[in-house]
């Protein structure tokens, strides 16, 4: 009976350990899975013609003739959108119409001067043109359809006048006719609303399609292209088709979101069918295509993470990690050697060890401020370098941050080397230093590597220490260790708090975090492989 109970306990123990391991794996998958899949969408996604244009313009990739061909095809579909809007605008945007009328009047005045007419005729024509202009302005400003109609008809009387033939005034009649047509269909009382809705619609269409082909390119690269990704394009399409409003459903309850068709705002106008057109032809307008954007890992981002990849971030993170390890590893090992080999257990050693343990628990932002005040403001000027945040200062700060981890791991590793190895070495006539270098160090190396792995992971992911000492959100590829650099951790932090870009390109933020995780994973796997090979070599199996 007792044996039976013991067996049960043993089996329960085994099963529990298996369960716990499974749980850990499941947790990892739950935590990392969504992040990695979102991050992956920075690399594998559906691009649009705008993406291909952007790649060609900014990174010089792609076949020019093909892109031009595609642009031509999409422009054919886009043209209808622009035309519809322009036509509707004629009846709505009265300020622009007024401005146009005034311009025509000025032009006509100049034309008259060149004609060398007798002064009386000049005055008459001038007065007539002025009259036409004033009538048009009255019509544009009016809310009353009958008033508009009479004004327009007044204007159109002059149409057949011989004196106005082939002059700028023809523009007056064109304006008048177009306005008449558009006014017939629109509800003038809604005039103000239309202006507002149209502005919104136009800005959304620019977001979707980029600037119009006939307009000059905006100066910032961000505004030169429409939606480069199909998922974002779909989101903007939905924003075009639907408007969202937060309304109070019941008193003392949270607001609810109501979606209404944007077409309702333009009910009965020329714009109304446009929404159906965009919905049906969005694929012809943007030409989505599956894309594996591996250059994400090497591309610079232009500007502000909106387009491009995380090349500088990866390089910066690697540089910071490697340089900080160059400082932390030797200092850590020497300190550990002192603590284990060269000193007996006395008060000073106890104080040093307590300090190291305390340092390991200090928040990283404290190290960041220390780095700023010591390395950037004091140490670099002391050596004659400019006192500004740079890779060197950031690496040194990170090295100090990770020293406690490094020292403790190395200390444990050195302590775990059997005393007999040291005895054997000393008995063969080796000194303390030779014994440490030739016997203790090689035997402790796998353990020290574990410390390096822990430090690497910590250093690569730290944000706060580099905040003041060397990280920037935007900037060129680092060219020397006296320049500041971008890092993955600081980049994603900056996107989260810095501006609205993170909301516009969430895939990029997840991409950065996923790359960081993968980077740390790769470094760890590398270190683990090296460690196991070293272990095998030492122990011969």
């Amino acid at each position: 009976m007792r044996i039976f109970v013991r067996t049960i306990f043993d089996k329960t123990f085994t099963v529990t350990t298996y369960l716990v391991v499974l749980m850990i794996i499941a947790l990892l998958v739950i935590i990392l899975g969504p992040m990695l899949s979102r991050g992956l969408s920075a690399v594998i996604f559906k691009d649009t013609i705008e993406f291909r244009k952007m790649q060609f313009a900014l990174f010089n990739r792609g076949v020019e003739s093909r892109i031009l061909q595609e642009t031509k095809e999409t422009n054919a579909f886009r043209q209808k959108i622009y035309q519809t809007i322009d036509k509707f605008k004629q009846g709505i945007d009265t300020e622009a119409l007024t401005e146009k009328a005034r311009k025509i009047y000025r032009e006509f005045g100049q034309q008259l001067r060149y004609k060398e007419l007798p002064p009386e005729q000049f005055t008459i024509l001038r007065t007539q043109a002025k009259e036409i202009r004033d009538k048009l302005e009255t019509a544009f400003a009016s809310q009353d359809k009958s008033e508009i109609a009479s004004c327009i008809n007044n204007v159109l009387q002059y149409r057949d006048d011989q004196e106005f033939k082939d002059t700028a005034t023809e523009g007056f009649f064109k304006l008048a006719l177009e306005f008449k047509n558009s006014v017939e269909k629109t509800d003038l009382s809604k005039h103000y609303l239309y202006v507002k809705s149209l502005q919104e619609l136009e800005s959304l269409i620019i977001e979707l399609l980029g600037p119009r082909p006939d307009e000059p390119l905006p100066s910032t690269a961000m505004n030169q292209f429409g939606s480069t990704r199909w998922d974002i394009a779909q989101r903007i399409r939905d924003k075009i088709l639907w408007t969202e409003q937060w309304v109070e459903h019941k008193p003392n309850e949270s607001l609810i979101k109501i979606k209404t068709l944007r077409a309702e705002q333009f009910a009965g106008t020329d714009i109304e069918p446009l929404f159906g057109y965009i919905k049906d032809n969005i694929e012809q307008i943007l030409k989505p295509r599956a894309k594996f954007y591996w250059q994400y890992f090497i591309d610079d981002s232009t500007p502000g993470h909106y387009f491009g990849g995380v090349g500088p971030e990866i390089l910066g993170t690697l540089l910071l990690t490697v340089i900080s390890m160059l400082f932390a590893v030797p200092i850590g090992i020497i300190a550990a050697a002192y603590l284990t080999e060269c000193s007996s257990e006395n008060l000073i050693i106890k104080i040093i060890r307590m300090c190291i343990n305390t340092l390991a628990g200090v928040p990283s932002i404290v190290f960041g401020l220390f780095g700023l005040s010591f390395f950037v403001l004091f140490f670099l000027p002391l050596l004659g370098f400019p006192s500004k945040p740079c890779i060197l200062a950031a690496s040194l700060t990170l090295a100090i941050l990770t020293l406690p981890v490094m020292i403790r791991a190395s200390e444990e590793a050195i302590r775990s080397v059997p005393e007999t190895y040291k005895e054997a070495s000393l008995a063969l006539g080796a000194g303390k230093f030779k014994t440490f270098m030739k016997v203790t160090m090689p035997a402790a190396l796998p353990g020290i590597l574990t410390g390096i792995i822990l430090s690497l992971s910590r250093v690569a992911g730290e944000t706060a220490p580099v905040l003041f000492t060397g990280a920037v959100a935007l900037g060129p590829m680092p060219s020397s260790i006296f320049h500041s650099t971008r890092t993955l951790s600081y980049g994603s932090y900056d996107m989260a708090v810095g501006d609205r870009i993170a909301m516009m390109v969430p895939h990029n933020q997840y991409g950065m975090v996923a790359v960081l995780v993968m980077l740390i994973l790769c470094l760890n796997i590398m270190a683990i492989v090296v460690r196991s090979r070293m272990f095998r070599k030492l122990h011969g199996h």
Binding site: G429, K537, H539
Partner: protein, 293 residues
């Protein structure tokens, strides 16, 4: 000893000499030819201990040891646990220096030089007096690197010279035939007996005059023990061996002289045949016959 080996040692010593002139070193003497077991060779003792006492802090390790150890023979030290055998053995190459707060009294001379003189060079002392430990403790390196460790410390860098030394030492330690094909293999992959013989080979590689063995067979099976004992038999023609053992049959088998320690004191020291056949002291007799305590 071969001619080339002597040259090698000489060159190694010369480099050491030029490095540190002030330090007194144990000079290597021509290994004397084996003499008879008669007591008239007392003037040629390699190690002579005169009223030597050793303290760990205030605790006594060994007290008033006076004994001479003769070259080219095996001297066994026997006695119950905690009697100071190992302490005495480890005093001879000053391995006890690793322990803090130690203190000695009296003198312990190697070749007439007091080794507890402050100016003594520990490195050259330990190269003269090799040591084999209770548990086989090869370094976690290849077999070759284990044996080449000592010669490399002495400044031999030439790979052919190293090869020669390693082969010679492994042959002397009777393990060459077992490992000659994979010298690159990790020493930790060897069996316990092989590891111990490798440790002996490693100790031989520094060309010592004296080899201290601290219970070298206690972790080995009888077969491996037999091999080590045969090895000692061969080695004693050119080395002075001091062995600490709990196995009295072993002491009787391999040694010329035996010292019996008890409670930190040397009770009796004489030819082995006399100790085991006709001990002068009652305590010795009790211990040997198993009536002790």
């Amino acid at each position: 000893m071969k001619e080339e080996d002597k040259n090698m040692q000489q060159s190694a010593l010369n480099t050491e000499k030029s490095r540190n002139m002030k330090i007194i070193r144990i000079e290597r003497k021509q290994t004397p030819t084996p003499k008879s077991l008669d007591s008239d060779c007392s003037n040629c003792a390699v190690i002579s201990s005169d009223d030597f006492s050793f303290y760990y802090g205030s605790r006594m390790g060994v007290k008033n040891i006076t004994m001479d150890i003769y070259p080219c023979s095996v001297t066994a030290i026997i006695g119950p646990s905690g009697c100071g055998k190992s302490t005495f053995l480890r005093s001879i190459n000053r391995m006890n220096d690793l322990i803090p707060h130690i203190r000695t009294e009296g003198t312990l001379k190697v070749d007439g030089q007091d080794i507890y003189d402050n100016r003594i060079n520990l490195i050259s002392l330990r190269q003269q007096i090799g040591m084999v430990f209770q548990k086989p403790n090869p370094f976690p390196k290849s077999i070759f690197d284990n044996v080449a460790y000592g010669p490399r410390l002495q400044g031999i860098r030439n790979s052919e010279d190293l090869q020669d030394v390693v082969e010679q030492c492994l042959r002397s330690a009777a393990i060459w035939d077992e490992v000659k094909d994979d010298l690159k293999k990790s020493a930790l992959a060897l069996s316990g007996g092989q590891q111990q013989r490798l440790c002996i080979a490693r100790a031989l590689a520094t060309k010592p005059r004296v080899i201290l063995m601290d219970e070298p067979c206690s972790a080995l099976d009888p077969l491996a023990t037999g091999k080590i004992e045969d090895l000692m038999e061969q080695l004693k023609t050119s080395y002075t061996i001091i062995i600490v053992t709990h196995n009295m049959q072993q002491a009787a088998r391999v040694s010329e002289r035996t010292a019996f320690f008890c409670l930190g004191e040397l009770i009796e020291y004489d030819l082995t045949s006399k100790i085991f056949g006709n001990p002068a002291n009652k305590q010795t007799e009790d211990y040997i016959t198993g009536r002790f305590g």
